[in-house]
């Protein structure tokens, strides 16, 4: 993959909030077409801010963002830390929402939403309300909603942080299997290095606030990946290497 095939690029982006907090300082980041990129970094290093900038939900204070995926027409999907579902709407209606808001020309919106729910393993729950679902299932609905418009860029902001370890591993594996089939471009923010290494083609390590890029790691493991990859020596070694880069970056403070 060459440098020119990037889908999104951030060029020396700075974001300072009106409160005076400088979240990002001179962040350079390229997201290539079809890759699974994870952002890891200490708490409050501006990972989520970077994601919101890419989504167009925030404007940079300085610097330049190029994005071939245009937010507003359903070309960007976003998964929040919380499932962020409408409690008054059924699972199906929650997933259809992006189709309704963007007027995408799916002939049958219900069918499209039901198909995405099938991928994510929620067939049979179409008419359930969010409060009737477990935390993991709600997150699945949230992911289905982000995928329903068939976006070219999917942004996930620590989606599994509040789930238990078992549910988290299962969702990691299911998300990866879906990505292996569809090859959306994904930017995934997480605290967990193991999660990042398991899922990604590349892992970008950010420095403490104000965040900038410390280093990126290419993850060499071939696809399809299975859960037992997490037990391999190479996997553990790579996690250790990224971890020491991260703590080294924190030591600079």
């Amino acid at each position: 993959m060459t440098q020119s095939q990037y889908l999104t690029s951030l060029l020396s982006v700075n974001k300072t909030f009106s409160s005076g907090i400088e979240a990002l300082n001179a962040l350079d980041l390229k997201v290539f077409q079809g890759e699974f990129l994870s952002l890891v970094g200490p708490s409050g290093c501006g990972k989520s801010t970077a994601l919101r900038l890419i989504a167009g939900l925030l404007k940079p204070t300085a610097g330049k963002i190029d994005n071939w995926a245009q937010p507003g027409n359903g070309d960007v999907g976003y998964v929040f830390q919380d499932p962020t579902l409408m409690p008054w709407a059924t699972v199906l209606d929650n997933v259809i929402l992006p189709l309704r808001l963007t007027q995408q020309c799916y002939e049958n919106k219900e069918e499209r939403a039901a198909a995405v729910l099938r991928w994510i393993g929620l067939t049979g729950f179409e008419s359930a309300y969010p409060r009737e679902l477990s935390g993991g299932m709600r997150m699945r609905v949230s992911i289905a909603r982000a995928l329903v418009t068939n976006p070219s860029l999917v942004l996930l902001d620590e989606p599994f942080a509040s789930l238990d370890e078992f549910t988290r591993s299962k969702l990691n594996e299911d998300l990866l299997a879906l990505w292996e089939q569809h090859q959306w471009t994904v930017v995934f923010v997480t605290h967990s290095i193991r999660e990042a290494v398991f899922l990604s083609d590349r892992v970008a390590v950010l420095s403490p606030r104000p965040g900038n890029l410390l280093s990126t790691f290419r993850i060499p493991f071939s696809h399809p990946r299975r859960g037992n990859l997490r037990n391999a020596h190479e996997f553990t070694d790579l996690c250790g290497e990224i971890s020491s880069t991260l703590t080294g970056g924190m030591g600079q403070l």
Binding site: P71, Y78, P130, R131
Partner: protein
């Protein structure tokens, strides 16, 4: 809960009421209190039976004003709340006047309204509306402002326009708040209608139940006045129950307040 226990929970308020009435009847009889000071439940019941048709006509007139005022309060209150929710500036500028409307006793405004508005029905409607509208405005405004900020961002991400944000996000978020406000307004609309009738003094065959109550008390026909009082209380209670039921129907599928807590 066992079935017998459930039944007991349902009938216990009635048993309590019956016991109170019995005590009241007993006290009136033992002390031989005259009817024009304090009638016993028996005398009131007789008055209710004899004057019932006449009082019911009055009740219908009062209820008509109450319901019209409540519907008007629901529509205008929700509308005003939507306008206030547009920007902080509009809210800051106008909300104090909504509070002003609420804290001013309608009895003090009534004389002016009677001078300015000729139609007695309109006077009653206006005064009952003034009593009822504030809880709807205040609650709906809180509801419209409570939308999940992440959901707002989601709507922004998909390029939703203001109308879509209002109808698909703000209105459903605000609905439980609006309904809670309406439950309070139901009682206030009745109180407003009653006070308005008493101040505006409707008379003749088209007079409402409150006017008839006042008339009866002037004539020291206390059993009749008590019967009217009883009907008004019953009407207020029914309005509350009906609004509660509407709220239940609209929210039972999703809202936390309608969740059955299993123990």
């Amino acid at each position: 809960m066992r079935v017998s226990q459930k039944i007991f929970h349902m009938v216990s308020p009635f048993l309590f009421g019956i016991a109170l009435l019995a005590l009241w009847e007993l006290a009136v009889r033992v002390n031989s209190v005259p009817e024009y000071i304090l009638p016993g439940p028996r005398a009131i019941l007789i008055a209710l039976w004899i004057d019932g048709p006449d009082l019911l006509v009055g009740l219908l007139i009062t209820l008509q004003v109450t319901l019209a005022a409540l519907v008007l309060a629901a529509v205008t209150g929700a509308g005003i709340a939507m306008i206030l929710a547009q920007t902080r500036l509009i809210e800051k500028t106008l909300f104090p006047y909504a509070v002003f409307l609420q804290v001013t006793p309608i009895v003090t405004i009534a004389p002016f309204v009677i001078i300015w508005v000729e139609n007695v029905y309109l006077v009653l409607l206006l005064l009952a509306w003034m009593a009822a509208v504030f809880p709807v405005i205040s609650n709906t405004l809180t509801g419209l402002k409570s939308a999940d900020s992440n959901l707002r961002e989601l709507f922004q991400l998909y390029g939703a326009n203001n109308w879509e944000v209002l109808t698909r996000l703000l209105v459903p978020t605000g609905l439980p708040f609006f309904l809670a406000g309406l439950r309070i307004s139901g009682g206030l609309a009745l109180i407003g209608a009653v006070v308005a009738e008493m101040v505006a003094g409707t008379a003749g065959t088209r007079s409402g139940l409150a006017s008839r109550l006042l008339e009866a008390s002037y004539r020291l026909e206390l059993p009749r006045a008590f019967a009217a009082f009883f009907l008004l209380s019953l009407a207020g209670f029914s309005i509350y129950l009906i609004l509660q039921w509407i709220s239940h129907l609209m929210l039972r599928n999703w809202h936390e307040s309608e969740r059955l807590h299993e123990r």
